[in-house]
């Protein structure tokens, strides 16, 4: 067996402006190639057959960076998963990002794949979209003019984003969570390096009286797009967390899921693992935020 993509024209523009004008010229017929670890497999299976491939490799010097500046972390869209995984700076200020990066694909995939590519590809089971939703990230797109799109308005459906055909995602802006925040990243995969059966990111900000001042819960792979489990967040916000409340919140999150049955499991099964993984993530995040003593959650 040999998997060979359909033929295409290849262009590697030297500037962002040039890349945008090529995308404008070919309308929807051109595809952007960043690390290529979503696009190349799709082209090999001939699920994607673009007329033109626009390789952004020459933009890497400008669009691959991790900059912590005050209350915002700015990450260039061409930054590779592995660069995030091994970033000492991110481990300090936004530890959920390197922790989640570690679970993407395998080492070789992380050495090539990019955060911007993954977000723009918008696989409903991908990891970055879920992390970005939980962190309240904002995306910068450039289609000649620059515009900002909040993560909550970016993912429209499977493989569909708010990006226009001629727009390129250039930067991810992540607000730095308070230093005493608790976080958790839980991903359930059928085999090592697989896409998630369910993945969830939780950020908990503790208040002064042992209560949850703020919480965000994002869930992926069990809906047509990753979502914020707002019903679950409402249960916990302002409350002193207990195992009963956490269980209730996890049930609310699972109730918001709308999984489809596939080789990773039936609808009922996926709802159940959603509940379990959100619960475990909430427990871990609350423990890290020192809102829950480890012994409080012996039965998880």
């Amino acid at each position: 067996m040999r998997l060979i993509p359909r033929s295409f024209e290849y262009v590697a523009p030297k500037t962002l402006q040039e890349a945008v004008s090529i995308l404008r010229k070919y309308k929807g017929e051109a595809k952007v190639l960043a690390g290529g670890h979503s696009l190349v497999p799709l082209m090999k299976l001939r699920l994607s057959n673009p007329q033109v491939v626009v390789d952004l490799k020459y933009l890497r010097p400008k669009l691959a960076y991790i900059k912590v500046a005050g209350k915002t972390v700015r990450i260039g869209a061409l930054t590779r998963h592995a660069e995030i995984e091994h970033s000492a700076e991110l481990k300090k200020v936004v530890p959920i990002m390197p922790a989640a990066a570690e679970w993407i694909g395998d080492m070789q995939v992380r050495n090539m794949g990019t955060i911007g590519g993954s977000l723009a590809h918008a696989d409903p089971a991908a990891d970055w979209p879920v992390v970005m939703l939980a962190l309240n990230a904002t995306f910068v797109a450039n289609g000649g003019a620059q515009r900002k799109i909040p993560a909550t308005k970016f993912f429209l459906g499977p493989f569909t984003t708010a990006l226009k055909p001629h727009e390129i995602l250039t930067e991810i802006q992540v607000p730095v969570p308070p230093s005493n925040h608790g976080w958790s990243w839980k991903k359930f995969e059928r085999k090592a390096g697989d896409f998630a059966t369910v993945n969830t990111a939780v950020i908990v900000v503790p208040g002064r009286k042992g209560e949850i001042a703020d919480v965000s819960i994002a869930v992926g792979a069990v809906h047509v797009r990753p979502f914020r489990a707002t019903d679950a967040e409402k249960v916990l916000k302002g409350e002193v967390p207990t195992m009963d409340l956490i269980r209730e919140a996890a049930e609310k999150a699972a109730a918001m899921s709308e999984p489809s049955a596939d080789l990773r499991g039936s609808v009922e099964y996926k709802r159940e693992v959603t509940k379990v993984f959100v619960r475990r993530a909430l427990v871990e995040a609350c423990e890290r935020a020192k809102l829950l003593k480890p012994e409080a959650a012996v039965v998880r």
Binding site: L3, E9, V40, P41, K44, L45, V53, G105, M107, G193
Partner: protein, 187 residues
């Protein structure tokens, strides 16, 4: 104006895919410079095997899962050697890059510490996954020169051995890591 553009589009589609213009690339593999004109859709692994003629790099699953096609490439992430799956890259993406394949590891007839350790610890049975396994291990040791067994297992999780000889593979990588640390030379 708009109508003329529409007619042009229809004509273009009727002709089928435009014949691809070949693209010139220059790649340094195992220290040797190669330059060729390639179709953009040519995958790096096919370039290495069929055009350059280095068949030590294998094709297993062809779907980015098995890691048999793993090579080291410089220039993807800073200026460091990193393991990549050559079935998931177009050759044109590697233009200007340096690559190491299994053929480039032995020096002056002497096996690389990883090759030696795979031999000594019986870390290969059928041998099909071995070139990819060794280069993935080398890329992993570049990131983590002193790993635990658990970390090794995670590090090579992108490489499949259908003989399931993982126990000896992990032992071999552990032994090679020690030798590489003691020698102080990685390649």
């Amino acid at each position: 104006m708009a109508r003329r553009a529409a007619v042009r589009t229809v004509q273009r589609r009727a002709r089928g895919p435009v014949p691809q213009a070949k693209v010139p690339i220059r790649v340094k593999i195992n220290g040797v410079e190669y330059s060729h004109e390639v179709e953009p859709r040519l995958l790096l692994v096919h370039y290495i095997r069929d055009v350059v003629g280095l068949t030590g790099t294998h094709i297993g699953c062809d779907t980015s899962n098995c890691g048999a096609c793993t090579v080291l490439m410089k220039g993807t992430w800073g200026n460091e050697w990193r393991a990549v799956k050559s079935c998931t890259l177009y050759a044109v993406q590697a233009d200007g890059a340096e690559i190491i394949t299994i053929e480039g590891l032995a020096k002056n007839g002497e096996l690389h510490p990883l090759q030696k350790a795979f031999w000594e610890h019986h870390a290969l049975q059928c041998g099909y996954c071995t070139p990819g396994m060794i280069l993935a291990a080398l890329g992993f040791l570049k990131l983590n020169p002193n790993p635990t067994r658990e970390e090794i297992r995670k590090g090579i999780s992108g490489n499949l051995c259908r003989c399931t000889g993982y126990v000896n593979i992990v032992k071999a990588i552990e032994a090679a890591a020690k030798e590489i640390r003691e020698k102080g030379s990685w390649i």
